[in-house]
Symmetry: C2
Subunit: 349 residues, 2 copies
Amino acid sequence: MVDIQKTSNSKIDKVNFDDLVFGQVFTDHMMECDYRDGKWQKPVIKPYGPLSLDPSAKVLHYGQAVFEGMKAYKDKDENIWLFRPDENFKRINRSSKRLAIPEFPEDYFFESLNALLKLDSEWIQKGFGNSLYIRPFVIATEKGVSASPAKEYKFMIICSPAQAYYSGEVRVKFSEDYSRAADGGVGFAKAAGNYGAQFFPTNIAKEEGFQQIVWTDANAHEFLEEAGTMNIFFRIGDKLVTAPISDRILDGVTRKSVLQLADEYNIETEVRRVTVKEIVEAAKKGELKEMFGSGTATVINPISGFGYKGEKYELPKLEDSYARFFKDKLMKIQYNEAEDKFGWRYKVK
Amino acid sequence: MVDIQKTSNSKIDKVNFDDLVFGQVFTDHMMECDYRDGKWQKPVIKPYGPLSLDPSAKVLHYGQAVFEGMKAYKDKDENIWLFRPDENFKRINRSSKRLAIPEFPEDYFFESLNALLKLDSEWIQKGFGNSLYIRPFVIATEKGVSASPAKEYKFMIICSPAQAYYSGEVRVKFSEDYSRAADGGVGFAKAAGNYGAQFFPTNIAKEEGFQQIVWTDANAHEFLEEAGTMNIFFRIGDKLVTAPISDRILDGVTRKSVLQLADEYNIETEVRRVTVKEIVEAAKKGELKEMFGSGTATVINPISGFGYKGEKYELPKLEDSYARFFKDKLMKIQYNEAEDKFGWRYKVK
């Protein structure tokens, strides 16, 4: 079903897999599938290369664009695994629907993804922490500067080899003025416009010594929501607390996996709205033991402190960190080194 | 200062200027200016044609993109005029700043815009209502799928000939669930992502018999804000009411010109938050005489009715319509047929 055009000129020998910057190097091939005349055409796998777009293409003017982030892992026996790819597939279609983009067929997605990963399988390095970051995305390609949904789109998959991700000490700022999403808006979708909108406030936070922002509700900045590229967990005492998903908060695959693992290992969880006030108070009393982010790129990202209203709060360094516990459990499942009780692993074939 | 590469192959003879679909046909040339190595390079005017973008270009993934809409008008003596272009120039830089895009130099903007309009001046048709729609825009072109501001951009100007715009009877729906913008968000900016996010709710409204949505505040949907491509005015009795600009509402050039003209012609105005409740009540009592939208593409767009909570409200057809009054006043200034008391006209040279 997939049309495959192989490159005669692999770039793989020029890549230093021990010195990769995240998301900069791409594999030899990419998947491209056009939507026109009211339907998705045949997916094509072809050499990675530039796109030709009309300067009036709607993606450039009206942000009609969504994406996903996934990873492929190679185990010791050279098997290639994905982690809950059905969740990413369903989510890109939920995102597409909200952006008035036609949904993509499930068989096109999985057949072309399997074919692409097999073709570029040498780009997936073995070793705990190494992976291939997979970026499916959809863009509106139809030309024309009238503000209306496009009739032509491209669904694409590009892949970038990634090393174990150490982001250093991460401190976050709780947002006091700026917002990421509105009730009734597109915050739950992986819509392109949600990301560009965060860069300016994040630059300000960086100047103040933070690496990321934890977004709060736009109404009163009372509730802690998500970090834009990660969902956020709080450990108060030994209880794990995180905000419920909503139309403002992304339904993170790693987030929901952490919640299931917590249940499995009898860690008490609460999925409820989390106030800035209670976290600040818990930090002051020493009851806030941990914060961490969850997301595909980083898996689990420990947070060493936060800032709010000019005050900085440092978190303790724990021996029995939940962040480390979940990261280890998740990665062992992802790399086929532990039992897959929940049926999360998907074997590329 | 501008590098000009003329086409040897004009398309103008193939264009039927009496049968134009808005935003579909583009002139022979376009302006392109690259940002790299920390600065804007020399603007280039060259034949209109496709862009080559890496599939990982940040505009396609993170919506780092802003635009403007302007028009050029040709008077009876073949002079070409713009309407308050300084406002568009300042606004694209305000939008850019919020999207973490480097601001564009004023002299680059005006010199290249003048040169482009002179080169493609035959594309601007005389006749009241005919114009050239001008679309300046900026996109993040740097490759890489990490969610951070790009270091490379393109500032472009493309132009599309437009006829007098008759959009038919426009009925609007007051939004009850969906939202366009959050406090502390990017609603005030002409950010690409603000537009794609409106398409799905607008499709639903269209199925219900409305052409556009008037967005309400995301918190409680109590206040009427803007229509996504137009600011909105209400005439209650003989008073003209419109919402104040905010971080959710675009500072429309036509909107502010209407307010200035109203002052000039002793029409009472109120710039204040407008509740859905008062407009519904005014409509029921027959006190809501008119509603209209203002924006560059349409100038003034009369609204013949609105819908809210399943009820439809029709507005009277007036002899002494404010919409018609302001449209006539504005267009006569734009086409150099009336005195330009406020210094709004800008002559292309």
